[in-house]
Assembly symmetry: C2
Homo-oligomer: 318 residues x 2
């Protein structure tokens, strides 16, 4: 990680950012191309996306088959892997296929492998982490991690239909303790039982999270919190290559900015969500985490400006 990343523009040191989640080998098919067993997993996308803004500590598990090149990539981005266990067995694998317009995804295969028996144990030096992201894993594991952190300043989590249906009670206990839940529109409807998104978000906020972010893919994201509603657009990308990990990159950009600035006011959260959209927009431009290999703060700055222009209109008098 460069000095430019580790220190923020305002001169203060970025706060500590911890993530727990999957590190995986993904096999992805699109209409025109495919990749086999490339670096994937929510925590991988999150960490490298966030690393452009703040240093990240990753806790997760991989098998002995996990390529050193992937470890090298994450370390090159300053991701602290002291919490990434390597255990006997095979790394978590996921395989999926996208429809031609990327609007539908079919999961072809999921192998939990070493993730099956994963019990996260944070290194002692990480127990004072301030910003915590609990990526999409079993809510009991998310709670496990949260219980280990002494006094987090801001906790956000993701989840999915599988846990909403199968681990509702554990998820409920988790939601009482997080500041923000990020989930997609279908998950928001499933969790709340309500079709209307503002109504769904209101119901979910009543379960605990002060803020709910509904991710809608190429329709952007909606933030519902005490400061009202904020619509973060998605950047129209003409050459989408692989949408895998866009939501996790979004979370990475978001949490990375919060940790970088330490500002969790409503205004700060809005800006952080745009950084989330920025990182997500880069993520889909190539397979796996490949777009991040050549990304830098200059390109992030330029796209942030492009987002500002994307939604700009004059505040004229009617």
């Amino acid at each position: 990680m460069s000095q430019d990343n580790a220190d923020t523009h305002s001169g203060h040191k970025a706060a500590s950012l911890l993530v727990v989640g999957s590190v995986a080998l993904d096999s992805v098919e699109t209409r025109t191309d495919r990749r086999d067993e490339v670096l994937g997993g929510a925590a991988s996308y999150f960490s490298v996306a966030a690393s452009f803004l703040a240093p990240v500590k990753l806790t997760g598990v991989v098998g002995t088959d996990f390529p050193q090149a992937h470890v090298d990539l994450m370390q090159k981005h300053g991701v602290d892997l002291a919490g990434l266990e390597k255990v006997p067995g095979r790394t978590f694998r996921w395989a999926g296929r996208y429809s031609a317009d990327f609007n539908n995804r079919t999961t072809l295969d999921t192998q939990l492998n070493v993730f099956q028996d994963f019990r996260p144990k944070l290194p002692a030096a990480w127990l004072d982490s301030e910003f915590v992201f609990l990526a999409n894993i079993d809510p009991t594991l998310q709670l496990d991690v949260l219980n280990q952190v002494r006094k987090p300043r801001f906790v956000a989590c993701d989840t999915m239909n599988f846990w909403i249906e199968g681990k509702r009670a554990d998820l409920g206990r988790l939601l009482e303790r997080v500041d923000m839940l990020l989930l997609n529109d279908e998950e928001a409807r499933q969790l709340s039982g309500l079709g209307n998104l503002p109504a769904a978000a209101r119901a979910i906020r009543a379960m605990g999270p002060k803020a709910v972010v509904v991710k809608r893919g190429d329709a952007g994201a909606l933030l519902f919190h005490e400061g009202g509603v904020f619509a973060a657009p998605a950047f129209p990308i003409e050459t989408v290559v692989d949408p895998t990990g866009a939501g996790d990159s979004f979370a990475g950009g978001f949490m990375g900015w919060l940790a970088r600035t330490g500002v969790t006011t409503p205004a700060g959260i809005r800006t952080a969500l745009i950084l989330g959209s920025v990182l997500a927009s880069f993520s889909v431009e190539d397979f796996s985490l490949d777009r991040f290999r050549t990304l830098d703060l200059h390109a992030i700055r330029e796209r942030f400006s492009a987002f500002a222009d994307l939604v700009h209109f004059e505040k004229i008098r009617i």
Copy 2:
């Protein structure tokens, strides 16, 4: 129409705005409610929505069964109905049903009735109309109207899957002559044969329109034109009652603002699209055109401000 509407804030008189399209009797079912044979049709929604911003001239056709109360409503909003023919027969009818979350609509019945033999003939005084909206009807009729207008300043049109499939050549001739095409995402994909929306918009612009607006329902609208891309958000409405006519109200707010200000620069078009989103957001709050009965410029101003807040974020240095 009040003086407040007829004259614009800048003191100059609003330009003339002409619309051709359907005036209908709609029967609408939602999960919780229904309305039978209420005022509907693209030109009706367009006209009354636009009337809050500029005077509108409507050309269309109704049957002898068309209730006088609907005529009265439109006239109360200052809509000039000199071009609305009343002919022997029944008015155009449409019936549809929405899914619980309003994301799907099933057409239950369509009766063209008097629309079958409609040949629009503009009143002589309307031939100098400056702003023209060709709502979704047979492209040969849209061309008929366009051929009668001497020197339009800005022409926008809508279309639908039925014409894209069945009247492709006529639609192509029309597109060569319009400044802007408004259509929904599925129609954009169908017309271009491309799944990616920015790519689809690029292909459609090559067919003629300098600008393409892709309407995405509650995900807002995207404008693609020489000035780049603009994302107009949809306002998150917790109590959607009836989405019928939202797209036509959007077009009405958009064209009404253009006619009111006479400004067709890229910046002016952005602002106009927000006014479109504002009118669409009101339209869905009640059945038929009922929300417009109590709407006023004050409420429009307030929601315009709410849209500005909805997408606002600080342009900080990264």
